[in-house]
Amino acid sequence: MNIAAKSDTADASVVSHKITMVEAVNLALARAMQEDENVVVLGEDVGVNGGVFRATVNLREEFGLKRVMDTPLAETLIAGMAIGMAAQGIRPVAEIQFMGFIYATMEQIVSHASRMRNRTRGRLSCPMVLRAPFGGGIHAPEHHSESTETLFAHIPGLRVVIPSSPRRAYGLLLAAIRNDDPVVFLEPKRIYRASSQDVTDDGQALPLDTCFTLREGTDITLVSWGAMIQETLQAADQLLEQDISAEVIDVASISPLDMATIRTSVAKTGRCCIVHEAARTHGVGAEIAAELSESSLFDLKAPVSRVTGYDTVMPYYRNEMHYMPTVERICEAATILMEEGL
């Protein structure tokens, strides 16, 4: 390839486009598949249909049947096959249509994907990504609103990654695919098309070992991830009107957890409120709060608080908005923390 052609390509690749999060997922998949012929996509309806959310649209046309595989309807198999492929050096990106149908993969993910490297002392490994749309708020039928990221975050040997914007979806998914270990990649479907962002298709991955500080602040640290980042940022706006300066952290890589960034922020602000959609008890917020209470107790001017989903099943859609944390609940919790201080 001559230099002119090369720079052509380079030029082409740095053009940026305003795209939604689900388009960013699609873009990252296409990029990863162009870069590495070992990257393949499999799952239910990922082929001609391009996935029920269109995350894999056009991939079959571009990369062919052998790299974009419609599977029979069997989640255990999808996860288990991905493990087998990964041990063979393929980099499978397996889609589970909704997180509500991910539970059948758990034996394969817990007992094999997360352990393959460890139990063979590095001889075999499992560079697979298990993608699933998750979370509520889209008026879907039952079982389509799950936020059970804790189940995977508790499993040693797995990474759990959750983007909250088109750019982070692009960069984190590329990182997940290139990572040599299994990654559960959960996509907050409520914000799949909520807004667009300029994304540069430059193949730049984002790090999987760090939280993203989305907004700096001095009075309180708001920690969240996924779709709830929206409400959290809005809450930060509202709090500012009350002269409360909130730092907003997107955890993004839920596991392993980058507590350092959170701790540093709390050392500065002295207050922390964690926001997540998952049920409160044993939500990822519990670990963050526990860690802070152990390591930052003397930095804290008020108890760490959590604004979360309730310990019940997400109601069907007529009532689902009553389940999910709202801007109001976040602001209220933050205001209480500001009042409590030591």
Partner: protein, 365 residues
């Protein structure tokens, strides 16, 4: 090079072809004219209702809904043939069977309209609710059948699923135990050729789905699921067997999904016009209508009356649905446990106070 063989077979059956012409003599039970009329009337009612639900969804008054367009014969056969004290363990595309069992149309509307009371079934207290996670209901059916067996009751568990569902472990584990324990279980597969965008041939390399019964050592039958007589006859046979303690039967009913997978789907992305057209030529209602007309069991005036009656039934159900206020938000805690644990009581208070006095009005269709 082989010393012996084990031989197996799967029968295929139908009575009536696409034009409503008989290909073989009808079974004895088909002399029951009322049954035939009920079948036809139910299919028509359900088709009209189904299209109404789709319309409600298009106008924002309904959630995602899986139309049963073109597959009405199967559910009608199941619903008519089951005894009241049998238990239906449906999947999510079983409207006619549920209707005939006593599930009210307003309950169906509430369920797909995002209200849990849609599964509270006033008239069939033991039937299972719609099952969304594919194939999981198969294991429940095995459990229900086991309960009957433990108690020595002559009842059957009737479970349904789609063609896609037959690829999932639950399906196969359940068939298997049905064989080993000789369970009173009837498994009806609505093979509508599609699992969302995935065609039947991507699900299995077997010539039939019914042959999955062979591995489990139970009887497998394939029938034309758009032939009301064939599917009814198969279900009746399987139920009699189950009631007599003679074990389980897998029935593959060949149909065609004439609609999108659900209202969230767009089948034109993956399905050709020709394929769909061929599907329409096989649909079950016209067929039965032709037959009934040919036997002078049905008339144009009856048809008209039926359409009117259906419209009224549907309108009543829809208005009942639209006039049902949502449950209060705090109801999300009220049925989780038999006795509400202390931490939930606190959370319940939270939700109630957040929702405020108008909270119960906030929910919408």
């Amino acid at each position: 090079m082989m010393q012996k063989t084990f031989d197996f077979f799967i029968p295929y059956n139908r009575f009536m072809n696409e034009q409503g012409k008989l290909e073989q003599a009808l079974p004895e039970w088909s002399r029951d004219q009322e049954r035939l009329i009920e079948a036809y009337e139910t299919m028509v009612l359900i088709r009209n209702f189904d299209q109404k639900v789709v319309a409600l969804q298009r106008t924002g008054k309904m959630g995602t809904y899986p139309s049963i367009l073109g597959q009405e014969a199967i559910g009608v056969a199941v619903g008519q043939t089951m005894r009241k004290d049998d238990v239906l363990i449906p999947y999510y595309r079983d409207l006619p069977a549920q209707y005939l069992r006593g599930v009210r149309l307003v309950e169906t509307l509430l369920y797909w309209g995002g209200d849990e009371r849609g599964s509270q079934y006033q008239h069939c207290p033991e039937d299972f609710p719609n099952c969304v996670p594919i194939s999981t209901q198969m294991c429940h059916a095995a459990g229900v059948a086991t309960a009957f067996k433990i108690r020595g009751e002559k009842r059957a568990a009737v479970v349904t699923c789609g063609d896609g569902a037959t690829s999932k472990g639950d399906f196969l584990e359940s068939l298997n135990v049905a064989g080993v324990w000789q369970l009173p279980m009837v498994i009806v597969v609505n093979n509508n050729q599609w699992a969302i965008s995935t065609p039947r041939k991507v699900q299995s390399a077997g010539q039939t789905i019914a042959q999955k019964a062979i591995g489990a050592g139970i009887e497998g039958i394939q029938v034309d699921g758009n032939d009301y007589f064939a599917i009814s006859d198969a279900v009746q046979h399987a139920l009699e067997k189950a009631h007599a303690g003679k074990g389980a039967t897998l029935i593959e009913a060949i149909s065609y999904r004439l609609g999108d997978h659900t209202t969230a789907d767009d089948a034109t992305r993956y399905r050709s016009k020709e394929d769909l057209k061929a599907g329409w030529e096989k649909e079950p209602i016209q067929r039965l209508r032709h037959y009934l007309l040919s036997q002078n069991l049905w008339s144009e005036s009856q048809e008209k009356e039926l359409q009117n009656k259906s419209t009224k039934i549907i309108e009543t159900a829809v208005s009942d649905y639209l006039n049902t206020p949502p449950e209060p938000p705090e109801s999300m805690f009220d049925h989780l446990f038999a006795d509400m644990p202390a931490p939930l009581i606190e959370q319940r208070i939270d939700v109630k106070s957040l929702a405020g006095p108008g909270g119960t009005q906030q929910g919408s269709h």
